[in-house]
C-alpha cells in the first residue's frame, strides 16, 4: 500500500481547479496531485505517495549526504577521533566486532 518514492515532474497542468502533474518514476508514469507542493517546477523531484507529492526532494541535500558518506572512511583514516578511538578500545566485544 504505502509507497513513497521520488519521481521527476514532467508536465504540470490545472485540472478542475486542481494542480496536477505527470510524474516519471524511472519509466513508470503517473498522474500526481501537486496541491501540497504547488511551487514544484518541471524537472524537479518530489516524494510521491498514493498520487500526491508530499515534499520536494532537495537534490543539493541528496548530493551533500552522499558526499558525506564518501568522506567517512577517508576522514576516519586521515584524522580519526581520539575520543572515539579510545572509547572503541574498551570491551572485547567491540574489538571482535572490528575484526
Amino acid at each position: 500500500m504505502c509507497l513513497a518514492v521520488p519521481g521527476k515532474v514532467m508536465e504540470i497542468e490545472e485540472r478542475d481547479g486542481t494542480r496536477m502533474a505527470t510524474v516519471d518514476f524511472g519509466g513508470v508514469v503517473k498522474e500526481v496531485c501537486l496541491e501540497y507542493v504547488p511551487d514544484l517546477a518541471v524537472g524537479e523531484y518530489a516524494i510521491v505517495h498514493v498520487g500526491f507529492a508530499l515534499q520536494r526532494l532537495d537534490e543539493e541535500s541528496a548530493r551533500r549526504t552522499l558526499a558525506l558518506f564518501e568522506e567517512l572512511g577517508l576522514l576516519q583514516e586521515e584524522f580519526g577521533d581520539p575520543w572515539e578511538a579510545a572509547a572503541g578500545q574498551d570491551g572485547p566485544q567491540a574489538q571482535e566486532a572490528r575484526q
Binding site: 504505502c2 496541491e35 505517495h49 498520487g51 572512511g73 576516519q76 572503541g88 570491551g91 567491540a94
Partner: protein, 374 residues
C-alpha cells in the same frame, strides 16, 4: 532509478558500517518505527551486517497491521452491501477480519476495487452517481494528507455519494506508549522519514527529552537506514538524547505546512485502538465535525459487530517489539502470507511477512521497487 540507486551503494554502505563498528562499545537496542524500514532492514540483511552490540527492535509502524479488527469488520460489512462500491489500497485485501477478508467479500459478489490513490475512488464516485462509493482511509501521517485532500475535494465538488471509513494513526503517541510500557527495552528511535516529510520534527524534542532517548529521523534506502543507525549510536555512546535529521533531502523542520493545515481542517485527534496493542490516547485522527457527512461510520449503521482474534496469533507482541516473528509458534506453519492469521503476515510492511519472505524461503527475494511509508 535516480535518488534510489545512489542510496543503495555497497561501497558507501561498508564505510557507514565501519564507522558504526568503530563507534559502538556496548549493547544498544534501537527501534525502527516504520514497517517500510523493517522491510529494507530484513530484505538487505542490515541487522546481520551490524555489530552484534546493536539490536534492531521492529516497531508498530505498519498501518495495515495496526488497523483495529473492529474497523476491518466494519469495512467488510460495508463492502458486502449491494449498493456499495468499496475502494481500498491493495494491501488490505488479505487482512483477516473476524471471519473473512475483503478478498472473500469480493469473491462472494461484493464490489471491492483496488485503487492507487484516494482520488481514484472519488473519480469512481463521480462516474457512478447511483452507487455509494466508500474509501478505506487508513494509514499514518503520510497517508492522511492525501485522504484529507480527497474528502475536502468531495465536499468542494458536492459529491454526495462518496464517504470514507477513517482509521488514521499518529506516530508520536505510539512512541510515548512504547516508552511507558513496563516491558520497554528501547533506548533510541529511528523515526519514520516520510511521516516527518509531512509533520516536520517539532513533535519529537519533548519525547526525546522526557524519555532521554535519541530520535533520529531516518529514510528508507539501505544507506539511509545505516546513516540513521550511525547517528543514533553516536548519540547513545556520548550519552546524548536529541532529535536529529538523517533524511534532510525529504524532511524539513516544519514538514509540509500546507498538508498540516489541511489535516487540521479535515481531521480531529481521537483515541484510537491499535490492533494487537490496545487503545492509545490521542493516537488517531477521525473526520472533524465539518466533514461528518462524509464519514462512512456515520452514513452506514455498522455498530455492534462481535470481533474475535485468532488465539494462536502473537502479532501484538511482534508489533510491540516483545518477540521476533519467528519466535511465534504459528510463524511459517499455520500462518503464512497466503493464509495469514494476523495482519503482520499480510502487508509488505509487516515484520512477519518480511521475515517470511527474506529469511525462511531462502530463494530470490521479490524485488521491491519502492520504499514504503510511514
Amino acid at each position: 532509478m535516480k535518488y534510489l540507486d545512489e542510496f543503495q551503494n555497497p561501497e558507501l554502505a561498508r564505510r557507514l558500517l565501519d564507522d558504526i563498528r568503530a563507534t559502538v562499545t556496548r549493547p544498544w537496542a534501537l527501534m525502527e518505527v516504520c514497517g517500510g524500514q523493517t522491510h529494507t532492514i530484513i530484505r538487505h540483511g542490515i541487522d546481520q551486517l551490524l555489530p552484534e552490540e546493536i539490536e534492531l527492535i521492529h516497531g508498530p509502524g505498519c498501518p495495515v497491521c495496526v488497523t483495529p479488527l473492529a474497523v476491518i469488520d466494519k469495512a467488510l460489512e460495508i463492502a458486502a452491501r449491494p449498493d456499495v462500491i468499496f475502494c481500498s489500497f491493495g494491501d488490505m485485501l488479505r487482512v483477516p477480519g473476524t471471519d473473512r477478508d475483503l478478498f472473500r467479500v469480493r469473491s462472494e459478489g461484493g464490489d471491492v476495487r483496488v485503487v492507487y490513490s484516494p482520488l481514484d475512488a472519488l473519480k469512481i464516485a463521480q462516474q457512478n452517481p447511483e452507487r455509494e462509493v466508500v474509501f478505506f482511509g487508513i494509514g499514518f501521517e503520510t497517508t492522511a494528507p492525501p485522504n484529507a485532500m480527497t474528502v475536502y475535494q468531495a465536499r468542494k465538488l458536492g459529491i454526495r455519494n462518496f464517504s470514507m471509513l477513517v482509521s488514521h494513526v499518529r506516530v508520536p503517541p505510539a512512541i510515548e506508549a512504547i516508552m511507558t510500557s513496563p516491558s520497554c527495552r528501547v533506548q533510541a528511535f529511528l523515526a519514520a522519514g516520510h511521516v516527518c516529510s509531512v509533520m516536520g520534527m517539532d513533535e519529537y524534542p519533548e519525547l526525546a527529552d522526557r524519555f532521554r532517548v535519541p530520535i533520529v529521523v531516518t529514510g528508507f534506502e539501505p544507506l539511509d537506514i545505516l546513516e540513521g543507525i550511525r547517528r543514533t549510536v553516536r548519540q547513545l555512546e556520548r550519552g546524548e538524547h536529541t532529535v536529529d535529521n538523517a533524511y534532510p533531502r525529504a524532511v524539513r523542520a516544519d514538514g509540509n505546512p500546507a498538508a498540516r493545515a489541511m489535516l487540521a481542517d479535515v481531521f480531529e485527534v481521537t483515541d484510537r485502538s491499535w490492533r494487537g496493542i490496545g487503545t492509545i490516547p490521542a493516537s488517531g485522527w477521525r473526520l472533524s465535525e465539518r466533514y461528518r457527512d462524509y464519514d462512512a461510520e456515520h452514513r452506514f449503521s455498522v455498530e455492534g459487530i462481535a470481533t474475535r482474534e485468532p488465539a494462536a496469533c502473537r502479532s501484538g507482541e511482534v508489533l510491540q517489539g516483545l518477540i521476533k516473528p519467528h519466535e511465534c509458534e504459528a510463524f511459517g506453519t499455520t500462518c503464512t502470507p497466503r493464509n495469514p492469521l494476523g495482519a503482520t503476515m499480510v502487508s509488505s510492511e509487516g515484520a512477519c511477512a518480511a521475515y517470511f519472505l527474506y529469511r525462511r524461503l531462502g530463494s530470490t527475494p521479490t524485488p521491491l521497487e519502492a520504499t514504503p511509508v510511514v
